[in-house]
Symmetry: C2
Amino acid sequence: MAAATLHTPASTDEAQILALVDAVRQAHHDRSPEGMAAPYAPHAVIYDLEPPLAHDGISVDRKRRWLETWDGPLGLLAQDFKIAISGAHAFGHGYLRLSGAKKGHKDDVGHPVSFWMRATMVFARIDGAWRIVHEHTSVPFYMDGSLRPAFDLQP
Amino acid sequence: MAAATLHTPASTDEAQILALVDAVRQAHHDRSPEGMAAPYAPHAVIYDLEPPLAHDGISVDRKRRWLETWDGPLGLLAQDFKIAISGAHAFGHGYLRLSGAKKGHKDDVGHPVSFWMRATMVFARIDGAWRIVHEHTSVPFYMDGSLRPAFDLQP
């Protein structure tokens, strides 16, 4: 979600919403589990890349454990992100490219990983501040018998 | 999305929105590609289970080809579907269980398939009628090295 890929905010609300998305990016770069959780409302409904089907809110501990499976800073680049605001709710969808060095099972040397996912986010203005109340990220899978995740797709 | 699993609509708008979701279910049962497309706005942004990353609207021809890979009626059961309406937009998320008999590669006898997916939908009131403007469905995958889709999860 590099600033250059986000379009110019049309309103203060949109600027505040895009700042949440950028805060998630920054927290990945900084490897901050607290920063990764801060933009989300308590009990935000999270549909993540991996099981279970849903998470009830963002767990700082879970984010910390996930960060420990990576070496160094993580990249999270947003592209074609579109936001629609309607009253005290907003929704957005677009693409996120996650990149970093994933630690192997047998050594601590991370191997490079980079793939695009789809992301849908719903935002709500709660006590005057926008928060993420729902997030759905996914990678489609090939229905060619292999059922492998389509990590090779480009927006 | 059997009626029994949908909660009692709190408003006319919610009833109309849930009717769209039920129309998608009915069209799966009836194997009607036109019925599967009707609840969607033109150029609805669709993040589907299989590649590509996104589809620009629902293609009746694509739905027809997909239906031809199944024998008999398809089931689409909704569970824990929650709708929030805000002005002329609404969003919903919950679980859908797709079930049917998938044709094999070597014969025409379908083998039973049944799995739960996550679904996020965004709706807009366009010229007085609610339509689906964004849909994101996915199955998470196991990050245990297998990368297999988690078809065995239960809501």
